[in-house]
Amino acid sequence: MILLWLPVGLALPTISGWLLIRLIESRHPVLLRTERWILGFLFGTTGTMFLTFLLHIAGLISFTRFGFAAVQIIVTSLLGILRHLQRKNAGSVAMEPLPSEPPFSQRMRILLGIAGAWMGAKILAGFLMLTTTPVYFDDVFNNWNMRGKIFFWEKKLSLIFQTGNEQVATGGTHSYPPTIPMVKAWLAALAGQWNEGLANAAHILWYLAALGLVYYFLRRTVSRLAALLGAYLLGSIPLFLVHGSNPYADVFIAAHIFAAVGLLASAALAKEPAHRLTFFRLATVGCALLIFTKNEGLVLHLPPLLILAGFSLLWMRCRGLLAGREVLRSGCWFIGCLAVVGIPWLAFKWIHHLPFGNAKALSGLTFAWQENVLYAIGVNTFFEGNWLFLYPFLLALMIACWKKAFRTPAVIFTAFFLIVYLGQLPLFLFTGLSTEAIMQTGYARGLLQLAPVAVTLLTILAEDLIKRQKILKEWFTPR
């Protein structure tokens, strides 16, 4: 029964997120209805925790039930009022319906039913693993849940905890944004007690959010069948499911990464200037919130997004898809959103001397070839059960469908994936971070965080190949 606090605790953040998205969309709604709720949950939860963090370090609230709830009630109310005024002035416009598609054949419906049941069974097992089994992994009892418990007990953002023997632990994992521990602390405060199942249950929602965002992006931009395929493919990635079923932060950041990349790609794909601008603003919010997910969100994923956003604006300007004033306004919006999240968080890190690396400082690394790293990378990527055939197939399709991969708006996915993946390799091949590859820790997490982007790209390219060869019609047209 204590799990009932989960929907109660996430309701207001989700509604806040939904209202924020609706305000940004204004008279040009671009998202599908369910997609807007999923994105609302993702943005709202992270955004609400960010605001709570700001008010807390300003000394205005504590991490109590009242403190958390007050922020959420005020934010939801303000956004609600703004949305009400917006509707009053601008009216409400429905999103244009998607192009109609022929119904699935009976054979296809049976296949989809089986696939859905299979995915449902795995997700149920993952949910039960999260909520009925004790903590098991290091990062859970040393970082994510531990900090959540500290926040809950101390009712404040504590950067240290006593390790006994008059010693304290600081820095290291405390350098991570506190979003996830704050969510756990909020749920515990709501329930009045620390409960493992409740503290962990939100992770399955982030996993489902990643699946949902991939599905809806493909639904909007490609086809219904591609959307179902993409969701199935992501749901079949074993290591992604393991992470969705354990209270780690990598699926959480993967969902955020996909939201930002997907929205940016949607801006490039949109046909109307107003829709492009709306998607771009939404992508900006996604990029800004990425800063408050994990350290690598800021250090590893935001820079390529900045580059791709800049190139996208430039491309749209050159092609005449956006006016100069619109490009300038979008750029300012982008910088403004990043500043709203980035400046306070970076200032906080600087004041408290928190490192920027993935629980390890990046400064002080020396450069030299590291033995056995290439072998370990090859084994992890191609010869273990982590990814099924995701990365070999993706590589092959990037070559077979290079025009689609590199000369259409899908290049945003391609470029982001390649920049991040290839950008990490020198760190593993030439620095002391090589242990992260040899021990298959940091390297695997990097691929995990890219999994939704990789799956979506694979689906887009596969769909292109099948469509070009007109195979699809032969397979799935109802007789």
Binding site: W118, A125, P134, V135, F137, L241, G385, Q440, I466, Q469
Partner: protein, 429 residues
């Protein structure tokens, strides 16, 4: 003869086994296994043995270092105060894939299998450590040696070494190999053996592995890295073969498609059909692999449910951590009114970090802290610690704290102890 040993460290053993003498046989077995239905375990195999019963000594054995090695009716009885080893020339009649050592009554000991690789310098012996548990009746130790790249299936010299103070009786040593059909069966069966959830599972999953004899299959996932070939090797091979077959089919078909169809490019038709078939193979392989890994994931939770969630709280275990979580649940209320307690366990990791989290805000410290007023000791799986009748806490029989009382007696070596009159905490400055 001076013999030099090169130690076969477990972590050096690549499960992408290289330089195996019968790679083509194993590859063929693997391909066959992918299409083979499981058959009952094939006991038939080629076997020969060195029999030591009835005081028999097979061949000429050279013994170095042992103080006593005597042929008896029950086998070769080795009782030695010093470390030593024995070897003999092998003259294997066929390649060997597994070694099974049958022992009679004896004590536990650390042992090492030794062998000489043909062509290597004389005296260079490869070592494979193993443990003799010791038994009052009979013990069989099976070693799946064929998996190790350093194994020579026709090694010309073999033996083993024992540590000092060993007392064992060797009844026989059996050498076995399996034929291609049996290997294929084993590969198929091992493909469906699931790993269990372990600390590394959050970073990587081994995935399906192939072994080619029942000994290696029994030991699958018991070592890190596991003794098996990644099944991905062969799935990629299937993909390549499917691609080649589809390409060959396309080449044949593009010239034979009926020319009666007006306006159609016969090359495109043939190419489309070939691609359709190839993509169907890829899709089938993906679904097949998803089924394999999905079942493994479901099995993770099935084990958790059976062994922990639905099990008796007094006897349940959680993965490889035994009853630790239930112990911690019972400890938490006992230390709730203490800001610190002393914690000692069989291993620092993962228990220290885990119990710190589980009992927070009460913090575990080390034994020196009893001088600062910490009065509670939480001990987990330390069979060298106990409390005597006088209420003194003992480590290896020596008192270290007390007198006090046992607040929780969870299992031998796992308890909570509180000192009756602790030292006062140092006054705050």
């Amino acid at each position: 003869m001076t013999e030099r040993f090169s130690l076969l460290h477990a972590w050096n053993i690549s499960f992408l086994s290289k330089h195996n003498y019968n790679d083509p046989v194993l590859i063929a077995s693997s391909l066959l296994s992918l299409f083979l239905l499981a058959t009952p375990a094939a006991e038939a195999r080629d076997t020969f043995e060195w029999n030591f019963l009835d005081a028999n000594i097979p061949g000429r054995i050279e013994i170095t270092g042992w103080t006593k090695a005597e042929p008896t009716q029950a086998g070769l009885h080795i009782q030695t105060e010093r470390a030593g080893h024995m070897t003999r020339a092998t003259n294997f009649p066929h390649p060997v894939e597994s070694v099974a050592i049958t022992l009679g009554p004896g004590s536990s000991s650390e042992a090492v299998l030794l062998w000489h690789v043909r062509g290597s310098p004389e005296g260079d012996l490869v070592q494979l450590p193993f443990v003799i548990q010791g038994s009052s009746s009979r013990e069989v130790i099976r070693l799946g040696v064929s998996h190790y790249p350093q194994w020579d299936p026709l090694a010309d010299r073999l033996g083993f070494a024992l540590s000092a103070d060993s007392d064992i009786t060797i009844r026989s040593i059996e050498f076995s190999r399996w034929n291609i059909l049996e290997k294929a069966t084993e590969a198929f069966r091992s493909f469906w053996i699931f790993d269990v959830f372990r600390p590394y599972s959050i970073n990587f999953l081994w995935g399906p592995l192939l072994t080619f004899n029942p000994v290696s299959r029994d030991h699958l996932f018991l070592s890190v890295p596991p003794m098996g070939w990644s099944a991905n090797r062969f799935l990629y091979l299937v993909i390549v073969l499917a691609g080649m077959i589809c390409w060959a089919w396309w080449m044949m078909r593009k010239n034979t498609i009926a020319s009666g169809t007006v306006g159609l490019d016969r090359h495109a038709l043939a190419g489309r059909a070939a691609l359709k078939r190839f993509l169907a193979v890829l899709a089938a392989l993906w679904i097949f692999y998803d089924l394999r890994m999905g079942l493994e994931f479901l099995n993770y939770y099935r084990r958790d449910y059976v062994e922990f969630v639905a099990a008796n709280p007094h006897t349940r275990t959680f993965r490889e951590r035994g009853g630790f979580n239930d112990f911690a649940d019972l400890v938490a209320p006992l230390v709730r009114d203490r800001d610190r307690y002393i914690f000692l366990s069989i291993m620092r990791w993962p228990y220290l970090g885990a119990i710190r989290y589980l009992t927070y805000p009460s913090i575990p410290t080390d034994p020196a802290q009893q001088d600062t007023g910490v009065d509670t000791w939480v001990v987990y799986r330390r069979t060298d610690m106990d409390v005597n009748d006088a209420g003194m806490l003992l480590v290896e029989g020596e008192p270290v704290a007390g007198p006090g009382d046992v607040l929780l007696d969870f299992e031998p070596g796992s308890f909570v102890y509180r000192i009756r009159n602790p030292l006062p905490s140092p006054a705050a400055p």
